[in-house]
């Protein structure tokens, strides 16, 4: 990205000593400013570390007892989000990078990246106050939709392959990302219309009751599933953007070569593009995971904030970030709660920093490797 060489002033240019002094002064102040920035950045880590030290002198398992349900809640929320976001983001990345015509791709990509700009507090509001009560009333339909939407796409694909040539030209696969939108809308309404009847016939009434009686699962209005949907929505764009970049950077000559040897487009993708872009996709997933672990407002607003140890996707949780946001303003400085919360922040900081560094290093390596592979192409 940066040009390989930089200019170094070893030879005096110009003879005016005032200009030279001014130049040295400016260089010095830029350096000082830059080091102030670096110091501020280092200060975050040092402060968090320093303020968690008093915990070492505290006896007992107070810290562990407070933090372990929170850590579990954080992991559960992040896991739920990744379960939804990963397939969608990676699928979308594969499709945009390898199947879409370039003019369309250059329009769709910024639109999808726009999703990232939507503030967490807005997503949290929609999830906690609008989506959660709706899902509670239409639980069966929601569960059916999670399965039915992928199935209906496969149905669309099967129908398309059987359709007449003229129709296929009219609805080319490379534009399927757009014309599948109305199809999905219709399929959603179909599922919403049909499910209550099927629910009545199969389990004689309410799914929530059935879950409670047959499986002993409690249903909380704001639960891990809702958090997963909302945070998944928020994480999709960051995973998508990075994974798409990695796939698009795979030299076209590799794919063309594979196809020239008789591979289908999908085989070329699976055997050539994915292994080549693998590290980039890995780093995209890591960045997404880091974002899911640290996201505060969505979990705060959509999870019910109960510190529970439960694996059920229908129960709430409390994450580290949400706990800090709720408890920190009330904790007196110097109290044990204060130090525990700072330690929690340190955990978040270290985790995301390590994950991101790993992702960044992997990504840079990959970029070098791919540029070598690409050669002249």
């Amino acid at each position: 990205m940066t040009p390989p060489s930089r200019l170094h002033h070893s030879t005096p240019s110009g003879s005016d000593p005032r200009r030279q002094r001014l130049d040295r002064l400016a260089t010095a102040s830029i350096t000082v400013g830059a080091f102030a920035v670096l110091a501020a950045i280092l200060a975050i880590g040092i402060f968090l570390l320093w303020e968690s030290l008093p915990l070492l002198s505290m006896t007992g398992t107070f810290t562990l007892e407070t933090l372990s349900p929170l850590a579990w809640g954080t992991l559960k929320a992040a896991l739920a989000a990744m379960l939804l976001a990963l397939p969608v983001a990676l699928g979308a990345a594969v499709y945009t990078a390898l199947y879409m015509p370039p003019p369309l791709r250059s329009r769709i990509k910024p639109v999808l990246e726009m999703m990232e700009a939507i503030p967490g507090v807005v997503v949290g509001f929609i999830a906690g106050l609008i989506l959660a009560p709706w899902v509670e009333r239409h639980l069966a339909s929601t569960l059916v939709l999670l399965v039915w939407l992928p199935l209906s796409t496969l149905l669309a694909g099967a129908l398309w392959h059987r359709a007449r040539q003229s129709l296929r030209q009219y609805l080319p696969f490379s534009w399927a990302g757009l014309w599948l939108v109305p199809w999905l809308v219709v399929m959603t309404f179909l599922a919403l219309w049909a499910t209550p009847g099927v629910e009545q016939v199969l389990i004689g009434g309410d799914v929530r009751q059935w879950l409670d009686q047959q499986l002993g699962l409690n249903y909380a209005t704001r639960n891990a599933m809702i958090v997963g949907m909302a945070m998944g929505f928020a994480v999709i764009p960051s995973i998508y953007a990075l994974a798409e970049d990695a796939l698009a950077d795979v030299p076209a000559s590799l794919l063309e070569g594979a196809q020239a040897l008789g591979a289908t487009r999908w085989q070329a993708l699976w055997k050539v593009a994915l292994p080549a872009a693998g590290p980039g996709i890995f780093s995209a997933v890591m960045i997404g995971a880091g974002r899911a672990v640290g996201e505060t407002m969505i979990v705060l607003m959509a999870s019910g904030n109960t510190a529970l140890f439960s694996v059920s996707p229908f129960e709430g949780m409390r994450s580290i970030a949400a706990a800090i946001a709720i408890e920190m303003p009330e904790a007196a400085p110097g109290s044990s709660t204060y130090h525990v919360l700072i330690f929690a922040a340190l955990v978040l900081f270290l985790f995301t920093f390590l994950v991101n560094t790993l992702a960044e290093v992997v990504r840079l390596r990959l970029r070098i490797r791919l540029s070598r592979m690409g050669g002249g192409g």
Partner: protein, 457 residues
């Protein structure tokens, strides 16, 4: 099967687009619909009871056939609740009488019912004359309004005396023509943008929150821009491009991925409890123990967000600097310029659009960020604006209101969340609109920049 896998990938794109479109449509329709004067219904039940209100939604009855409908009936001072579920097959008659009035009042929330009379200083007006008198009274600014009392009658027949000075707006939606509704709608939007909140944040406008957000973002930009640009210039133009610089660059990039709440904790611990308390001890010791700087405030919030957006600014500026061809720098130096002259005359002017992009991206990130602000100085309801006529005019130690936090607070801490949801939609729409417009500007600017650079190289 391998023929069908690509379809799932295509559906992922379609699904993402669908979710984005659904979210934006929901915000747009509900957010703008909030200001539209909804039709009021008068409903006679089979028990003979009459209620009046706005129909909100219908859901199927639990465990039985049929549906029930939710009415917003207002009048909390008469029957202590504002909502009413009515079974549809218990409704005898629905009508939309033109005389139904909706009043927006301060302490008790809305009133829905009929206006019987207006009494003021000996005069007693009834019927249409009373409505005209009320309308003319409300067109004047609040301090000049006459000292009058309204006699109101609810749909159920209860009478109520209501002082005029507690009323903000009065309208009869059923009697309005469509162009009157449009005028009413735009005046509603204007009031939302220009007035302060009322009724514990569940009604009124968001002006202080808009003002607080803008001011905080401006102070933040003033802090973050010089430092961010200096750091970027150092990394790209001065530092030796070795292993260390590369490490620093990775570190800076990764700070963008550190959760915002961590910055909030840092701001609270270092700025508020550390710096703020020391400042209080040195300069404001006479007002202790009540803290001046030792509590959250505009300055600390801006500093915290400046730290949060620092990586954004550095990365975007550096990207712009790296795009400038080395030939430009070499040319300047060959003509005898010192490094400072090369930077100020050649490099920085060429990187100006990149720096503009950087500040817009930083603002967009900061405007939507709520979690760290909850720790370092945002307020539910700030008693004073951070800017006023009193010296030194800008009070950076004061707490301020923020659009995102206002949304969170209205949606989750109100006493009647149901009634506040339409308002929350409007706030969310405003916030998303601001952030998206900022981001779009940055994208277009960057696009333009690349295009231009592509031609010049």
């Amino acid at each position: 099967m391998s023929r069908l896998w690509p379809w799932l990938c295509a559906a992922s794109v379609a699904l993402s687009l669908l979710m984005l479109a659904a979210l934006l449509t929901l915000l747009l329709t509900r957010g703008l619909g909030h200001f539209w004067p909804a039709t009021l219904e008068s409903v006679t039940l089979d028990s003979g009871e009459v209620i009046a209100g706005e129909a909100v939604r219908e859901i199927p009855l639990p465990h039985r056939d049929g549906e029930e409908r939710l009415y917003f009936t207002a009048n909390r001072d008469l029957d202590s609740h504002r909502w009413r579920w009515v079974e549809i097959n218990h409704i005898d008659e629905r009508s939309t009488p033109h005389a139904l009035v909706r009043l927006e009042r301060s302490p008790w929330g809305d009133f829905i019912g009929y206006l019987t009379a207006v009494e003021s200083a000996g005069s007693h007006l009834e019927g249409e004359a009373a409505w005209q008198a009320l309308k003319t009274a409300l067109t004047r600014p609040p301090p000049e309004r006459p000292n009058a009392t309204l006699i109101l009658k609810s749909a159920g027949g209860e009478t109520l005396r209501q002082p005029l000075n507690e009323i903000h707006r009065a309208y009869r939606p059923n009697a309005m023509a469509w162009w009157e509704k449009i005028r009413f709608w735009s005046s509603g939007v204007w009031q939302f943008l220009s007035e302060g909140p009322r009724a514990a944040n569940t009604g009124g406008g968001v002006w202080p929150a808009i003002f607080g957000t803008v001011l905080m973002v401006m102070v933040m930009s003033l802090i973050v821009m010089p430092f961010g640009v200096l750091a970027a210039i150092y990394l790209n133009e001065i530092a030796h491009q070795g292993r260390l610089t590369r490490l620093v660059r990775i570190g800076v990039r990764n700070l963008a991925g550190v959760p915002s709440i961590v910055y909030g904790v840092f701001g609270l611990g270092v700025f508020v409890y550390g710096l703020g308390s020391s400042l209080d001890e040195w300069f404001f010791s006479d007002s202790l123990p009540s803290p001046t700087f030792g509590t959250g405030g505009l300055l600390w919030a801006s500093l915290t967000l400046a730290l949060l957006t620092l990586p954004v600014v550095i990365v975007a500026t550096e990207e712009g600097l790296a795009r400038i061809p080395d030939a430009q720098r070499e040319g300047a130096v060959a003509l005898g310029a010192t490094r400072l002259e090369m930077l100020t005359r050649v490099v920085l002017p060429m990187a100006a659009p990149a720096m503009l992009t950087a500040v817009i991206l930083a603002i967009a990130r900061a405007a939507g960020e709520v979690a760290p602000l909850m720790l370092v100085g945002v307020a539910k309801l700030a008693p004073q604006m951070p800017v006023d006529g009193e010296f030194p005019y800008l009070h950076v130690e004061r707490k301020f209101m923020h659009l995102g936090y206002h949304l969170f607070d209205t949606a989750f801490h109100g006493e009647d969340i149901q009634a506040a949801i339409p308002l929350v939609y409007a706030i969310a729409l405003l916030l998303v609109f601001i952030v998206l417009v900022l981001n779009l500007t940055a994208i277009l600017l960057r696009h333009h920049l690349r295009h231009q650079r592509g031609q010049s190289c």
